[in-house]
């Protein structure tokens, strides 16, 4: 297309004038705007307990999907549970950031084993892990269980092994854990319930 000098000036003038008028607000849009869509609208709520410290704050985990057969659920948000008497909906920064903990690349999702002196971890099946733990527990208890002390009094203790339980357990699982561990004779037992 051939544009003469005169036509070029006309074009420039017209576009400058047009854009100036638009920028000065002579192209009003409708006064409508909307907030961001509420992202928990159709999520599934699941109650849980914070896995970090022994305060054991109540959580609600919001997951995508209605649990229909062909839909794969995914946790998209975690918040404090307002009905939980411990935290009444509040959380600390660790609890408030739990979503990244759930989706972390380095999160442990299956049993792993590192042999003495070995440099790397190797993956185990749950069956292998449980069998190995049971075997070692049994061997150690058979070897080190003390039924009577030097004075001849019955003590039934096993002090070469300790047990760490979770702070987030319910009363019922805490009761069962206590019964199992104490009945084996373990004395070094910590369930982190020190608050």
């Amino acid at each position: 297309m051939h544009v003469t000098r005169r036509q070029f000036f006309k074009l420039c003038g017209a576009s400058l004038g047009g854009s100036s008028i638009a920028l000065l607000g002579f192209s009003p849009a409708q006064a409508l705007a909307d907030v961001r869509t509420f992202k928990l609208e159709r999520t599934t709520e699941t109650r849980n307990t914070c896995p970090y410290c022994s305060v054991s704050c109540g959580l609600i985990m919001y997951s995508l999907g209605d649990q229909a057969k062909n839909a794969k659920s995914s946790i998209i948000h975690i918040e404090g549970d307002p009905d939980h008497p411990v935290n009444r909906g509040t959380l600390c920064p660790k609890g408030a950031g739990l979503l990244d903990f759930v989706h972390s690349d380095s999160r442990l999702q299956y049993p792993e084993y590192r042999a003495p002196g070995a440099k790397s971890w190797q993956r185990l099946s749950w069956d292998e892990a449980f069998s190995r733990i049971a075997r070692l527990v049994k061997d150690d208890r058979d070897k080190n269980f003390v039924a009577k002390n030097a004075a001849g009094a019955t003590v039934n203790r096993w002090i070469t092994t300790g047990f760490l339980a979770a702070s987030a357990s319910s009363n019922e699982s805490g009761y069962l854990t206590h019964k199992v561990v104490r009945s084996l004779g373990i004395l070094a037992f910590d369930n982190q319930a020190r608050v």
Binding site: G17, S20, L24, G25, S27, P28, A33, V35, L91, D100
Partner: protein
């Protein structure tokens, strides 16, 4: 359209009338009680989770501020100050910084992009980034230096007061997380009432100057502080004592823009009248010759 509680009260660079038949809806407010804040940053984490942004891991700048400043990927930051009052004492002041949601928002007044900044009927000032042109005028217009331009998309971001949560009747994410109850949310009237109780308590504990920070220079704010040292807000990491919108915003938007618009109209009208009365300017022989010459 959002629920009626979120009717648009004001919209940037827009001259048409917003809907206002439904009358006054209750104004909301966030109250930050500085005397109860322990600086745990749960509000920061909750804000990141709800609003789906993650700042990159930064470096320590010698304070407990983490990250050191607000960013397009960090809409609230706890600002820590070591303050030494008289008598050799030390006070550790912690202020949750973020958008104050001014009743008279400087950002909205300065914004040239229609609909990029809106103020809802309940007082929340919200950015709509899809309309943002990234000019940064909102930063100039803000008396509190809050909006930040993103390096990723060149658009301005700040706290929305979780307008998406408030629209469905929930409190903002930071409010819900706060474990000490330093953050409270409700109608502005209720928050002022709550603050009065807190100030009376602080007065009885030796903070005679405790006061509510709800600066009149910006028409009051929808994020308010209870300051134990209410007479010296600037000790809380440069919280302005008497904030106001930069006079340049009102000079440019209030005076210059209408005059320029009028001038533009006069020029357009003059051009039209000139065209009608004198007609188009015909090319004379000399111009035509020149054109021919150029074409060769």
């Amino acid at each position: 359209m959002a629920s009626q509680s979120l009717d648009i009260a004001r919209r940037s660079a827009t001259t048409t009338q917003p809907p206002n038949v439904r009358g006054d809806v209750p104004k909301v407010a966030k109250l930050i009680d500085i005397s109860k804040c322990i600086g745990c940053k749960a509000c920061q984490a909750a804000c990141m989770e709800w609003n789906d942004y993650r700042d990159k891991v930064g470096t320590c700048n010698g304070t407990y501020n983490n990250p050191p400043d607000l960013d397009a990927d960090q809409w609230t930051v706890m600002r820590f100050t070591e303050y030494e009052p008289e008598g050799g004492k030390l006070e550790w002041l912690i202020r949750k910084d973020g958008c104050m949601h001014c009743a008279d928002p400087g950002c909205l007044k300065a914004c040239p992009a229609p609909g990029a900044i809106v103020q809802y009927g309940n007082g929340i000032v919200d950015f709509h980034e899809e309309h943002c042109i990234g000019c940064g005028y909102c930063i100039t217009g803000c008396p509190f230096d809050i909006p930040r331009l993103s390096k990723k998309d060149g658009k301005a971001y700040k706290c929305t007061l979780c307008s998406d949560r408030v629209a469905v009747g929930l409190e903002p994410a930071c409010i819900k997380s706060c474990p000490t109850g330093a953050l409270v949310f409700g109608t502005k009237d209720d928050m002022i009432h709550h603050a009065e109780g807190r100030i009376a308590d602080l007065n009885s504990r030796g903070f005679a100057q405790a006061a509510l920070y709800d600066p009149k220079g910006v028409g009051g704010t929808h994020v308010m502080y209870v300051l134990p040292h209410g007479d010296k807000p600037e000790i809380y990491d440069r919280l302005p004592k008497d904030p106001g919108i930069s006079p340049w915003v009102s000079v440019w938007k209030g005076v210059t823009k209408p005059i320029l618009g009028l001038g533009l109209g006069v020029i357009a009208l003059g051009g039209f009248i000139h065209y009608v009365t004198k007609g188009p300017n015909e090319a004379d022989d000399e111009d035509a010759k020149e054109d021919k010459h150029e074409r060769r």
